[in-house]
Structures are given as structure tokens and as C-alpha cells.
């Protein structure tokens, strides 16, 4: 049999609609998995609240994280999502795929800022500790889990910026779309977790 | 290597004349073995199952026997048809032709679904009924015993004031209902008296209750921890004696209570 390596080389590239389907499927599956983890945390919080074991679930003095910082983070991530969205629309209709890269950079910077503020929120919770009560434990977990997710999105944003700077976005609209799903999911999940900290009794 | 294909029979043929009716043979084998198996189960169950010392335990043992009787034909269905196939249909080495494809048999699949659903429904109803019976049994004045688990021993205190700690034996009066309220001081433990047929976890910060049970046989039995609780989990058992009411009263007084 002859070395038909040229045939193999020609046929190894995936077609564009397959690349797009692949990206979409992957990010949606990843989001499903993450949703399950978020739901586990929220359910845990509600369950412990309902059980109120030995009446020690929440004692006077156990407060939610700083409302002001939470509000700032909420606004910042919404702005970040909006910035990404506008960039994305431009990038998908631009033949070089880069759109207005300043908007992408803004989205990234805002997400990074949200991460930093969230970390500050975590470090200044002001709980007595040793041991933390169940309510405080849930708040701690929700606060830091959100911080990690903002950080993950920021990293995705940074990598996208890299590609945009190197001019490797042509024909890669699906990357903008798929990363967008993750970006918006992070923002929505973050807002949901913030509301949870406000309403959990 | 492989010979040319068989005269493929697209729709699946009925057995040629002269070929034994495999299905009929297998079914007969199945029925015969099932009857033998059911008889064996009924005869051996009282020997295999440990004797129970309460009505509840007896009911549970009966349920186990019933489940085993029902499972005999189910298990034999698989064993017989599989075993028969292996003996009747195996080839010597690599087959030289394909097997005749099956006729589609929707009746078999629907029938199978019907039978298994009916079995399942029966089991659920039986289980619910038995469970309801045991949890709704209530007498106005059971002996209430508080069992506290800790690593790695049980502490008991009776409502009548008797207490027992460490490896001391506890006693229960025969033919009187008793109920245990169980908790733990540290980690999860499991409170079980196999002979009486009761079991419930011991959770820190919670009090859980066993079903009410009436011991019917005197004797010495075991309280065991059945939830892994660390280092000496498998040493965390104590003796429980079921005794006559007079002996029980004597014991209660000796443990600091008033009968």
C-alpha cells in the first residue's frame, strides 16, 4: 500500500460546521456540569438552614457578606457581560474576526476587577471562626466559589485577547460564541449566588 | 478463513423438521428446576436464617423467604436459557456461518415487560404494607430506652431511671413493647439489634427512633454498631438479654432505676 499521507493530511482538517458544533457542545456540557455543582452548594445551604441542627445553624452575629461589595461586583460583571456581548457582535460580523478589541479588553479588565473585589470580599468577611457555624460556612464557600469562577472567565478572556492580538480569529466565530456562553453563564451564576446570599436565612 | 455466507434466511425460519423444539425443552427444564428450587428454599429457609426474637423480626424473615421463593424462577430463567444455549448451540471453534436471524417477537417483549412490572408492583405493595405495619405499631406504654453512641461504646438510659454504660449487658422484658431513641456524641454510628429486626443510625445532634418492637423469645442477643465509626468500630457491640418481667425489674433496680 502506498503512503497516502497526502490523502490523510487533506482529510484530517475538520469542516467549519463541525468545529462550531464541537465548540458549542463542549461549552454547553461544561456549563451543565458546573450548574450541577452550583446547585449542590445552594441545596446544601437550604438543607442546613431547614435542619437547623441543635439550633446552631446561624447564631446572632452571623451576617451575609458585605452588601456593598456584592453590589459593586454585580454591577461590574453585568458591565463585563455587556462589553463582551457588544465585542462579540462586532467580531462575528468582522471578516478578520477581531471586532473592536478595546471592548474585549474592557470585558476582561472588568472581570478581573470583579475577581479582585470578590477576593477582598472573601478576606474581609469578618467571621469569628474556629469553628465557623454552618451558615457562615455556606457563605464562605459561595464567596470563594464565585471568585474562582470569575478568575476562570478572566483567564478565558486573556487567552482570547492573545488570539485577537495575534490576528488568529479569522473564521473562528464559534470561539467568540462559545466563550460567550461561558462568560454569560459566569455572570448569571454569579448574580444568582449573590441573590442567594441575600435571601438565605 | 470464513466460508461463503449461508443461504441467508432474512426473516428467520421456524425450526426444520427433525430439529428438537429448543424452546419447549428449555421451558420444561425451567419449570421443573423452579419447582425443585422453591421447595428447597421453603425447606432450608428456617435453617439458614437466624432465629428471630420478635414479631417484627419474624415478619422480616418471612419477607426474605418470600423474596427468595419469587427469585427462584427469575434466576433460573437466566441460568436455564443461558446454560441450555451454551450446551445446545455452541460450535467447535470459529463458526463457519452466521446464525439464523431471529423473528421479531413483540409479544415476548411486551409479555416480559408485563410480567416484570407485575412482579415489581407486587414487591412494592408488599414492602409498603410490611413497612407500614411495623412503623405504625404503637402501644401506649412502651419501654423507652435512650441509646447514646460514642466512639466506641453504647450508653443506655431507661425512662424508668436505669442506666448502663460500657460493656455491661442491658436487659429487656419479654412480651413488652420497647422502643429505642438513638443519638450520637461524636460521629455517625449505626444501632442494630439483628435478632429483633430493628436498626437506625445514631446521628450527632439528632435523635432517631427505631420502630416499636416486642421481644417474644428470651435469650442473649447482640447490639451492634453497623456504621463505620473509626478505629474500634468492629468492637462496638454489647450483649442484650431478653428476660422475664421479674428478672427485668430486679435488673432495673440494680441499675439505679424504679420499675
Amino acid at each position: 500500500m502506498s503512503t497516502s499521507s497526502t490523502v490523510v493530511e487533506e482529510t484530517h482538517e475538520l469542516e467549519p460546521h463541525i468545529l462550531a458544533g464541537r465548540a458549542r457542545a463542549a461549552v454547553i456540557l461544561f456549563i451543565i456540569s458546573d450548574v450541577m455543582s452550583v446547585m449542590a452548594i445552594l441545596a446544601a445551604g437550604g438543607y442546613l438552614s431547614a435542619l437547623n441542627v441543635l439550633n446552631q445553624y446561624r447564631v446572632p452575629g452571623d451576617h451575609p457578606p458585605s452588601f456593598v461589595l456584592g453590589l459593586i461586583v454585580a454591577i461590574v460583571i453585568i458591565l463585563s457581560a455587556l462589553s463582551y456581548y457588544v465585542w462579540g457582535r462586532g467580531a462575528m460580523s468582522d471578516e478578520r474576526g477581531v471586532g473592536q478589541s478595546a471592548l474585549l479588553i474592557a470585558a476582561f479588565v472588568l472581570m478581573l476587577a470583579a475577581t479582585v473585589i470578590q477576593i477582598i470580599m472573601g478576606l474581609t468577611l469578618g467571621y469569628a471562626g474556629n469553628p465557623y457555624h454552618a451558615y457562615e460556612s455556606v457563605m464562605i464557600l459561595v464567596t470563594w466559589y464565585s471568585a474562582i469562577h470569575f478568575l476562570l472567565s478572566a483567564i478565558v478572556g486573556l487567552l482570547l485577547i492573545g488570539r485577537v492580538m495575534r490576528g488568529r480569529m479569522a473564521g473562528r466565530g464559534f470561539l467568540v460564541e462559545a466563550s460567550g456562553y461561558w462568560w454569560y453563564y459566569t455572570v448569571i451564576a454569579g448574580l444568582l449566588m449573590w441573590i442567594f446570599t441575600l435571601v438565605l436565612i | 478463513m470464513a466460508e461463503p455466507n449461508i443461504e441467508g434466511n432474512g426473516g428467520g425460519a421456524t425450526p426444520a423438521r427433525g430439529e428438537p423444539n429448543h424452546i419447549r425443552r428449555a421451558i420444561i427444564l425451567w419449570v421443573v428446576l423452579s419447582i425443585i428450587g422453591i421447595v428447597l428454599v421453603i425447606v432450608t429457609t428456617p435453617v439458614v436464617l437466624p432465629p428471630s426474637a420478635s414479631g417484627l423480626g419474624n415478619a422480616d424473615n418471612f419477607t426474605m423467604a418470600m423474596l427468595t421463593v419469587l427469585s427462584v424462577p427469575v434466576a433460573l430463567f437466566v441460568f436455564v436459557f443461558l446454560g441450555y444455549s451454551v450446551f445446545a448451540f455452541k460450535t467447535n471453534g470459529r463458526p463457519t456461518e452466521d446464525a439464523v436471524p431471529d423473528k421479531p417477537r413483540p409479544g415476548l417483549q411486551i409479555g416480559f415487560m408485563g410480567v416484570t412490572s407485575a412482579l415489581c408492583l407486587f414487591l412494592v405493595i408488599w414492602g409498603l404494607f410490611a413497612f407500614y405495619q411495623e412503623t405504625s405499631a404503637s402501644s401506649p406504654r412502651p419501654v423507652v430506652i435512650h441509646a447514646t453512641a460514642q466512639q466506641w461504646m453504647w450508653t443506655f438510659s431507661y425512662d424508668n431511671g436505669a442506666t448502663s454504660t460500657g460493656a455491661q449487658v442491658i436487659e429487656l422484658p419479654v412480651n413488652q413493647p420497647v422502643v429505642f431513641e438513638v443519638t450520637s456524641k461524636d460521629v455517625l454510628h449505626g444501632f442494630a439489634i439483628r435478632a429483633l429486626g430493628i436498626r437506625v443510625d445514631a446521628n450527632p445532634g439528632e435523635v432517631t427512633t427505631t420502630p416499636q418492637v416486642t421481644p417474644t423469645q428470651t435469650g442473649t442477643y447482640l447490639v451492634q454498631c453497623v456504621e463505620l465509626c473509626g478505629l474500634l468500630h468492629s468492637y462496638m457491640w454489647e450483649a442484650v438479654k431478653v428476660v422475664s418481667p421479674q428478672e427485668f425489674n430486679t435488673w432495673v433496680i440494680s441499675q439505679g432505676g424504679h420499675p
Binding site: A44, R58, L158, L160 | E97, P204
Partner: protein, 635 residues
């Protein structure tokens, strides 16, 4: 002369870096540095130092093995990788070194998984034999209770981890992409990542032996797992988090692959049932494992940061742990079961030379199992006291799951019935699987039933039940698949007599051991007994004696593999006459699998129907059906 030595030296360096060697070296450095730094910053908190060390190990291991290179390049490289670079990453021309690197070729990853699974089964078995040794006589004779509890826990977790990956890892990676007519998985780099995540978790887990072991058994129940006994517990929690990440990445990869990379003509209706089994299994894993991961994050937080998710004194509850754990724990056994059952179906068809009986019924069985498996976890909490208005519905759906399971096994029996049975070792293992599953499945009913669970929960009856289902059925399915696909993966023929000896020793030993343990459970013996009470001595001794046969079977299989690797006969490309696509490619399977991607025209189960093909003159002629696969090569 000196040029030659120079060339040799540099190729050794380029072989070693990046590779698993550099990964381990950097990982160890990272672990030591992070552990010492945190240990110095936070006094009196051994758990913090240990967890920091594990985190350092993981991050630096992946730096060392070159996993982050791809991430960096994705964003900041000047150009996309060329085809030649992709092939280089896939291990082209690297000989055996490619197995020790972050290699992306799905066949390499499949072999890595296979080697790891066999290794884990081996050490897990050694743990089992130690358990049986201790339980053969009453009293804690051979091991002190702390060591025994650690052995039990390690045996449990090692075996569970192996069972979860045993089919999807080796065969889901090596065989599945070829089976659907693809050149590789959807995300080759993530594929390598999922394997190396698993690998990186193993030294973490084994370090528990030097940190005092852990007392909780494989379920890691809190609050026992939160007690400040030894830092050995942290190894368990961290392994689970890493393993959950590995599983979720692999699940996403497999699902995406089957969604978008099926070749032309490979509709969902023509997909081999093995692919369906793996797809459903990883879908379960993707959705169920996050709660497991969250539970372990919470345990680590309780241990390191003194939170109180599970400590009653500050408002926590062990019931929370039980719910989080079993929400994963129940679908998890179907993660284990579905690929094994589906592989058994493939083998049943090939070795009976007959189409699957009731293929759609079997498929709906798999789907039914997958859906119901999410609704039954409460049966692990029947006796927890965590009530119980839901106990009755849980009993209902636990019993219900037996119906779709029955469909599936009816299908396998119907396939075998009136087939032309080629009694290969694989078919023997399939038969063993059916026999054992009937026993395992039926005893599950005893446990599903509320009143009988009262007397059986937490006892050896449960242990025997899950060994019958997970080991007697699913691990048997693994060995069947191992003997089935080994000729394709390795290119050599395993000795069939030794393989059959492996089966018989395993089956007889297994039945003897675990039927005895059923009896011990009926008598009331609790699980996790370092100290077996004298009343249970006889069944335990019998079980331990039969376990010797299982040990003999393990060594028989190991011997078979070793002599085959050294001097085995070469296998044919289509060793068994199968019809799925992997049997149409040559052995060894070339990089990128297919010269031309195949076009599929039928299911791979059309045995007994004459099939036609054009020869070079254009005339139609019947081809021998056993060697006619489901696809016609294009052009």
C-alpha cells in the same frame, strides 16, 4: 564520534522533557515547596500544609509534563499548529516514549488507561486478599484496626475508581472513535489531560500510607472524615476532587466526540450499542460527579478551615454529606455498569453470529436505567433517620429500575439463544456476567425493600450484593472486553487456554467467596469488621479459602499478558469476525485511523443477511458475512 554522542545526549533530554519524568520531578519540588511554605505560615494546621503540598504537586506536575504549553499556545502563539505539529503531539515516530508523555493520540491514551486500570486492579486485589486474610479468623490478628480500616478504604476507592474508568478509559478512548469512524476524539489535548489528571491523583492517594491512613472506608462519611486524627484523610478528599475533574473532562470529550464526529451514514440509529452505553454512562458521570466534588471540597474546608458543614455542634449535619455523596453514589454504579453491559452486548452479537435480540428494547433499557438512576439515591438513607416521607417513593423507583435492566439482559439472552456460539474467553465472561448479575440484581431487591433493609443495611449482605453486581458482573464484562479488544489494541493473541483458566478460577472463587459472605450477612455480620466475631467465623473462613482461587486467577491473567507481550502470536486485523468499524482498520492501527473515512450503510448487527459488494469489475458478488463490516469504504 563526538557528534554521535552529542546527538544521543540531546535526544535523551528531549525524550525526558517534557514527559512524565519531568512532570514528577517538578511536581515533587512543587509539593515540597508549597507544603513547607504553608506549613511555616500556618502553624499547627497539618491539613493546610498537606493540602497545599497536594495543590503544588498537581500544578507543577502539569507544568512539567507540558500540559500548559497547549493552553498558552492557543492564546498567544503566532500561528495555529501545523498538521505535522499535531502529529508530533500525537506521538508520531516516538516509539514507546509516547506513552510517557502528554500524547494526544486517543490510542495512546487508551493504552495508558488500560495499563493504569490493570495496575490499579492488581493493587486493589492485593488489598482484597489482605482483607480476606484478616477476616479468615476471628479477632484482629494480622493487622491492627487502624491499618485494617485504611486497607479497606484503599481497596474500596482504588477498585471504585478503576471500575468507573475500566471500560470508558481504555476502550472508550481506543476503540470508540474508530467505531464511529473518526480520526481522534473531539479534543485530543483534553483527552491527554483527563488521563494525566487520573495519574496525578494516584501518588496523592498513595501518600495516605505515610500520613496515617484514613478511617472512613471508601464512602468517606463525615463527620468521621473531619475528625482531626491524621492528615491521611486529606489524600482521599483531594484524590476525589482530581478524579472528578478528570471524569468530567473525559465525559465532555466523549460526548462531544459522539455528537459531532460520527462519520457519514453513522446515524444515531446505526450507532453500535457499545457507544450508546459509554455515552449514557459519561452523561451520568458529568451530571452526578459535581455533587461528589462539592462534598469533598466541604470536607476539606471543614478540616483545613474549621467550617462546619458536617459538624452538628455548629449547625452542620452528617445527613448533608450522605445526600451529596449518594446523589453521586447511586448514578455512579450505573456509570460503572452501562459501558460494561453494552460491551457485553457487542460480544454477545459477535460470538453468537446473530443480530442483537430486541436492539431497540435493549437501548430503551439503557436509557431507562440512566434516567431512573438519578431518582433512587435515597435508598442509601433508609435507615439514616433522615426521613422518610420519601422512603416509599424511593422504594418504588429502586424496584422500578429492575425493569429496564431486565430488558437489557433479556436482549443478551435472546441474542445468545439459537446463535452459533463461539465459546471464546470473552463469551465465557459474558455468560459469567449474566449469572452473577442475576444473583446480584435479585439481592438488590432485598435491600431495596424497606423492611428487609432494616435488618440487612450495614451488613455483609450489602457487601456481597455490590461485589456481585460490580465485580461479578461489571468487572467480568471488563475482562470479556479485554480479551475481545486486546488483539486490536496490542496486535497479539492472548493464550485462550490461560484465559479460560482465568475465567473458571475467577468465577468459582468469586461464587464461593461472596455466596459465603451473603450467608454471613444474613447471620448479621456488620461491614468493616477488623474483628470478626466468632459466630461469623465459618462463612468468613470459607470465603477466604475461595479467595485463594481468585488470587490464582489474577496471577494467571498477569502471566498470560506477560508471555503474550514477550512472545505472543500476531493477531489478525479482524480477529473475531466482528462487524463494527474497528475491525476494518489494520493492526496496529495507524495514526489517524482511516486512510479514507468510511461511509456507513447499516447497523453492525446484520448477521445472517447476505451482503453484497462491488468487486473491481463492477460485478456484484456475495461476500462472506462474518468479515463484512457495517461500512463500505468510500471510493
Amino acid at each position: 564520534m563526538s557528534e554521535a554522542t552529542q546527538v544521543r545526549r540531546s535526544s535523551l533530554i528531549s525524550n525526558l522533557f517534557p514527559s512524565v519524568v519531568s512532570g514528577i520531578i517538578l511536581g515533587v519540588i512543587g509539593a515540597v515547596v508549597c507544603g513547607l511554605v504553608v506549613g511555616a505560615l500556618v502553624q499547627d494546621n497539618q491539613d493546610a500544609a498537606v493540602v497545599a503540598a497536594y495543590t503544588g504537586w498537581t500544578i507543577f506536575f502539569f507544568i512539567g509534563i507540558g500540559a500548559f504549553n497547549g493552553v498558552w499556545k492557543w492564546g498567544f502563539a503566532r500561528r495555529d499548529p501545523t498538521h505535522a505539529e499535531e502529529l508530533q503531539l500525537a506521538g508520531q515516530n516516538q516509539g514507546l516514549w509516547r506513552y510517557f508523555r502528554f500524547t494526544t493520540d486517543h490510542k495512546v491514551v487508551g493504552m495508558q488507561y488500560l495499563a493504569t486500570v490493570l495496575f490499579l486492579f492488581f493493587i486493589g486485589s492485593m488489598g482484597a486478599f489482605m482483607i480476606r486474610l484478616e477476616q479468615s479468623v476471628p479477632g484482629a490478628i494480622f493487622f491492627d484496626p487502624s491499618t485494617y480500616n485504611t486497607i479497606v478504604g484503599m481497596h474500596g476507592i482504588i477498585m471504585i475508581v478503576s471500575a468507573i474508568i475500566m471500560i470508558s478509559g481504555p476502550f472508550g478512548n481506543f476503540i470508540l472513535p474508530i467505531m464511529i469512524g473518526a480520526r481522534d476524539m473531539a479534543f485530543p489535548r483534553l483527552n491527554a489531560l483527563s488521563y494525566w489528571l487520573l495519574f496525578s491523583g494516584l501518588p496523592i492517594f498513595l501518600s495516605t500510607l505515610f500520613l496515617g491512613g484514613f478511617p472512613t472506608g471508601w464512602t468517606g462519611y463525615a463527620p468521621l472524615s473531619v475528625q482531626e486524627l491524621t492528615p491521611g484523610m486529606d489524600a482521599y478528599c483531594f484524590l476525589i476532587i482530581i478524579f472528578a475533574l478528570s471524569t468530567m473532562v473525559a465525559a465532555m470529550n466523549i460526548l462531544t466526540t459522539v455528537l459531532v464526529l460520527r462519520t457519514k451514514g453513522m446515524t444515531w440509529g446505526r450507532l453500535p450499542i457499545f457507544v450508546w452505553g459509554v455515552v449514557l454512562s459519561v452523561l451520568l458521570g458529568l451530571t452526578a460527579f459535581p455533587s461528589f466534588m462539592v462534598s469533598q471540597i466541604m470536607v476539606l474546608m471543614d478540616r483545613v478551615f474549621q467550617t462546619s458543614f458536617f459538624l452538628a455542634a455548629s449547625g452542620g449535619s452528617n445527613w448533608l454529606y450522605e445526600h451529596l455523596f449518594w446523589f453521586m453514589g447511586h448514578p455512579e454504579v450505573y456509570v460503572i455498569a452501562l459501558p460494561s453491559m453494552a460491551a457485553a452486548a457487542e460480544m454477545a452479537a459477535v460470538f453468537s453470529r446473530k443480530a442483537l435480540f430486541g436492539r431497540r428494547m435493549m437501548l430503551s433499557g439503557l436509557i431507562g436505567i440512566a434516567i431512573i438512576s438519578f431518582l433512587v439515591w435515597g435508598h442509601h438513607l433508609y435507615t439514616s433517620g433522615a426521613n422518610t416521607p420519601l422512603d416509599a417513593p424511593y422504594m418504588l423507583d429502586t424496584e422500578l429500575i429492575s425493569i429496564p435492566t431486565g430488558f437489557f439482559f433479556l436482549g443478551i439472552i435472546g441474542t445468545i439463544w439459537r446463535g452459533k456460539l463461539w465459546m471464546t474467553p470473552s463469551l465465557l465472561f459474558v455468560c459469567g456476567m449474566l449469572v452473577n448479575f442475576v444473583i446480584g440484581g435479585i439481592t438488590g431487591i432485598y435491600l431495596a425493600d424497606l423492611p428487609t433493609d432494616e435488618i440487612l443495611h450495614g451488613g455483609m449482605f450489602v457487601t456481597a450484593h455490590f461485589h456481585f453486581t460490580l465485580v461479578g458482573s461489571m468487572v467480568f464484562g471488563f475482562f470479556g472486553a479485554f480479551y475481545y479488544w486486546f488483539p486490536k489494541m496490542v496486535g497479539k493473541r492472548l493464550n485462550p487456554m490461560l484465559a479460560k483458566l482465568h475465567f473458571w478460577l475467577f468465577e468459582i472463587g468469586f461464587l464461593g467467596t461472596f455466596l459465603s459472605l451473603f450467608y454471613a450477612g444474613l447471620l448479621g455480620e456488620p461491614r468493616w469488621s477488623a474483628n470478626v466475631a466468632p459466630s461469623y467465623a465459618v462463612p468468613n473462613l470459607i470465603a477466604s479459602l475461595f479467595a485463594i482461587l481468585i488470587a490464582a486467577s489474577v496471577f494467571t491473567a498477569v502471566y498470560n499478558v506477560i508471555i503474550t507481550l514477550r512472545s505472543g502470536e500476531a493477531a489478525e486485523a479482524n480477529e473475531w469476525g466482528g462487524k463494527t468499524l474497528e475491525w476494518t482498520v489494520p493492526t496496529p492501527v495507524p495514526l489517524e485511523n482511516f486512510e479514507h473515512l468510511p461511509v456507513v450503510t447499516s447497523t453492525p448487527y446484520d448477521y445472517g443477511t447476505p451482503s453484497l459488494s462491488e468487486d473491481t469489475e463492477g460485478a456484484l458478488s456475495p461476500l462472506p458475512s462474518p468479515s463484512q463490516p457495517q461500512a463500505q469504504a468510500e471510493g
